[in-house]
């Protein structure tokens, strides 16, 4: 455990932050701009994982295990979310034979 922490600390914290921001921005833009539901789901995962990365980095730098525990929780939730999201996508495919997110606006009253 000590080793990993020191290994992480070899790279300056700024790099982690920039990488995380870049990943998060890619995810956010993907959610905003793409219309394919699967890609949107993947982008959401990307955003979650960028946050996970940042949490781990901070946790290592501050020697506080709470951040890492939190990451596990996020992973569990992400797994559940993917399960629900993919089943929704399957239903969508079956019903409207398309993955275009904009078609879902029909669900609006």
């Amino acid at each position: 455990m000590e080793k990993i922490t020191t290994a992480i600390q070899l790279i300056p914290l700024q790099h982690y932050i920039v990488l995380s921001i870049t990943l998060f921005a890619i995810g956010a833009l993907g959610v905003l701009l793409r219309r394919n539901t699967i890609i949107i789901l993947m982008c959401i995962e990307l955003m979650l994982n960028s946050v996970n990365l940042l949490l781990t980095a901070f946790s290592a730098y501050h020697s506080d295990p709470a951040g890492q525990v939190f990451v596990f929780f996020i992973m569990v939730v992400a797994a559940a979310e993917v399960a629900v999201g993919l089943s929704l996508i399957v239903m969508m495919k079956r019903n409207v034979d398309s993955l275009d997110i904009n078609l879902l606006s029909r669900l609006k009253w």
Binding site: A28, V31, L32, L33, R35, I101, N102, L104, S105, R106, L107, K108
Partner: protein, 638 residues
């Protein structure tokens, strides 16, 4: 103490019994079938009468003092303390006996008259409620209890006039009675408030002792008495608020007999008689009462001369007789007014129920031009109606003679002109009553053959009350024999414990003068009677049909001096116009516009805002991210 509590028990039972009847009938009306509700209502009223009688006997055998029965403290706010109390004295006992006694007979009669009506249970419930309210009115020991009864009888009058509410004209008549009465009640309630501000109490027993040292013509007392008189004008149908009473004939005939002849309309007279000490301090008010009463008596009598509806004739006759009672009040002979209330209750209830019997026999016909010759077919009705007619006309020794004579003698003592005017009214009464009698019962029948075939005397349950009342109408006068006939005005003396008669009551006209006046009036009445007989029996004159053109004066009177039209023009039309103005401008353009405006603004705004919710997820996320960034920027900047 035992004696007192027994008395209290009896006097509480008297108004409570009809109340029980009302509650039972109204709550169980679904289960009561046929005559049962009538029998229940009648027997409870009869029981009330028995208790009134017991109370009377106890009262007259005892000292004859007024007893106040304090039941509980009803209202207590600051200086205002209103006990729920009954005042049992000679005046209230007299009124109680009239109400329950005549009321019992009319209830009995109603069993026959209302038979088969689909809402008969409701009818008897209302009749019992009326009896309770009227008893509360006369038994109350302060003005507020009196006022509860006053409003209660007004309500019952409204309910019973509009009893056949499916007929719109009847409904309008009921509303008219209620609204016209409200005008009088407004004056009455202001008077009551003023009484409280002046005397700091509303109880009779606490007000009247305060009057002892007061000088007459106090402006405050005059105002109070005038306001109370306004209330009496409305309830007792005097000019200018008399128009509701003839219309009130829309109700079933027993209602007309009970409410609009025998009891409720005399409430105003009772109230003034009860406040006699107050009125004695206001000679100005008494003069106004005298003038109003006399005008009403003559005015209504002239209208009665030309009416063709059997009940309308009796209605105008009632207004006229009430005018007489007000003349008596105005003269300060309160006991004579109460005496006339008593005898009038007997013979007017009798006449109304006789008329009801005729209407019953003719299946609802009320036009005297379609009657005639009923003498042989309705012998009981005819005979009792004849007695009632003689009594109201004032032929000795029938009851009407004594009560009218007492008023007229007091009038003579005041001023001969008042006597002459009163006599003129009495002569007109004699004429229109005999005209009615002759047209209805004599000559040959003028209705349809169908009606003629079905002519029948009313059942026993209706004729028995008629006979009892006929006896009372004949003999009722002997309770107050004047000195001239060897009596000593025992009724007036009985009442003197609760009334303060003016000096005219036990007047000192010489007996020869009194004798002469009586002979004169008797001869005049006889002449009028013969004249009426000549016109309607010998020449068989008939009132003209609706479309025949009448001479100007007769036309004017036939149309009731166009009073209704004048009121309509002066009050109803402007009122409707103002109401329309309010409903169209204030309500339509003001209030509605404001309320609708609020709705319009919100629905307009919502219509725009709902566009935001497009269902486009990309847009939602975009908005969310913009929002987060905005928070971020603000956080950094600030």
């Amino acid at each position: 103490m035992v004696e007192f509590s027994q008395l209290a028990f009896f006097s509480v039972l008297i108004p409570v019994l009809p109340l029980i009847g009302f509650l039972l009938i109204i709550l169980l009306s679904r289960f009561l079938k046929g005559n049962f509700s009538g029998i229940l209502a009648t027997s409870l009223t009869g029981l009330s009468f028995v208790f009134s009688l017991i109370l009377f006997l106890k009262h007259s055998s005892g000292v004859g003092n007024a007893v106040e029965i304090d039941l509980f403290n009803w209202l207590e706010v600051g200086r205002l303390r209103i006990p729920f109390a009954f005042l049992i004295d000679s005046l209230s006992i007299t009124m109680m006996m009239i109400i329950t006694g005549v009321g019992f007979l009319i209830h009995l009669y109603s069993i026959g008259y209302m038979k088969g009506d689909e809402r008969i249970n409701t009818f008897f419930a209302y009749m019992n409620l009326f009896t309770t309210s009227m008893l509360l009115l006369v038994m109350g020991a302060n003005y507020l209890i009196l006022f509860i009864g006053w409003e209660g009888v007004g309500l019952c009058s409204y309910l019973l006039i509009g009893f056949w509410f499916k007929n719109e004209a009847y409904n309008n008549a009921a509303r008219k009675a209620f609204i016209v009465n409200r005008i009088g009640d407004l004056g009455f309630i202001i008077g009551i408030i003023l009484v409280f501000f002046t005397f700091q109490t509303l109880s009779f027993s606490e007000i009247f002792p305060q009057l002892k040292g007061m000088l007459p013509n106090n402006a405050l007392i005059i105002t109070i008495t005038l306001l109370l008189f306004v209330g009496a004008i409305g309830k007792s149908a005097q000019i200018p608020l008399f128009t509701w009473l003839p219309d009130a004939m829309a109700g079933p005939t027993p209602v007309s007999a009970l409410i609009h002849a025998a009891t409720m309309v005399t409430a105003g007279i009772y109230m003034i008689a009860r406040s006699s000490l107050l009125f004695n301090l206001a000679p100005l008010t008494l003069d106004i009462i005298l003038i109003t009463g006399m005008t009403t008596a003559l005015f209504a009598a002239t209208i009665g001369l030309f009416q063709n509806d059997i009940k309308k004739v009796l209605a105008y006759s009632t207004v006229s007789q009430l005018g007489y009672m007000f003349v008596a009040l105005g003269l300060g002979v309160y006991s004579a007014a109460v005496f006339h209330v008593t005898t009038h209750a007997f013979f007017k209830a009798l006449l109304f129920m006789g008329a009801g019997s005729v209407i019953h026999a003719l299946h609802g016909e009320q036009d005297i031009r379609r009657m005639g010759g009923l003498k042989s077919k309705l012998p009981y009705t005819y005979f009792t109606f004849l007695i009632g007619t003689i009594a109201i006309s004032g032929f000795p020794p029938f009851s009407g003679f004594f009560s009218k004579d007492q008023i007229l003698m007091a009038a003579w003592a005041k001023h001969p002109l008042i006597y002459i005017l009163g006599m003129a009214g009495a002569l007109m009464t004699c004429f229109y009553m005999f005209r009615l009698l002759f047209l209805v019962f004599h000559n040959s029948f003028r209705g349809t053959t169908h009606q003629q075939e079905h002519l029948h005397e009313s059942p026993r349950v209706m004729t028995i009350p008629l006979v009892v009342l006929a006896v009372l109408s004949f003999a009722g006068g002997f309770i107050n024999l004047p000195a001239l006939f060897g009596g000593n005005l025992s009724f007036s003396r009985f009442l003197s414990t609760s009334l303060a008669d003016g000096e005219l009551a036990f007047h000192q006209i010489s007996h020869t003068q009194e004798y002469l006046l009586l002979m004169l009036s008797f001869l005049a009445l006889l002449t009028i009677l013969l004249w009426a007989a000549h016109l309607y029996l010998k020449k068989k004159k008939l009132p003209s049909e609706e479309n025949v053109k009448l001479p100007a004066i007769q036309n004017l009177i036939y149309h009731k001096y166009y009073i209704e039209e004048i009121y309509d023009f002066c009050f109803v039309k402007p009122y409707t116009a103002i109401s329309l103005l309010f409903s169209r401008i204030i309500e339509g353009k003001g209030i509605n516009a404001f309320v609708d405006g609020i709705g319009t603004v919100f629905s307009f705004g919502s219509e725009r805002f709902r566009k935001l919710q497009s269902g486009n997820i990309s847009f939602y996320v975009f908005a969310m991210i913009i929002g987060i960034l905005a928070f971020l920027v603000i956080n950094l900047v600030v």
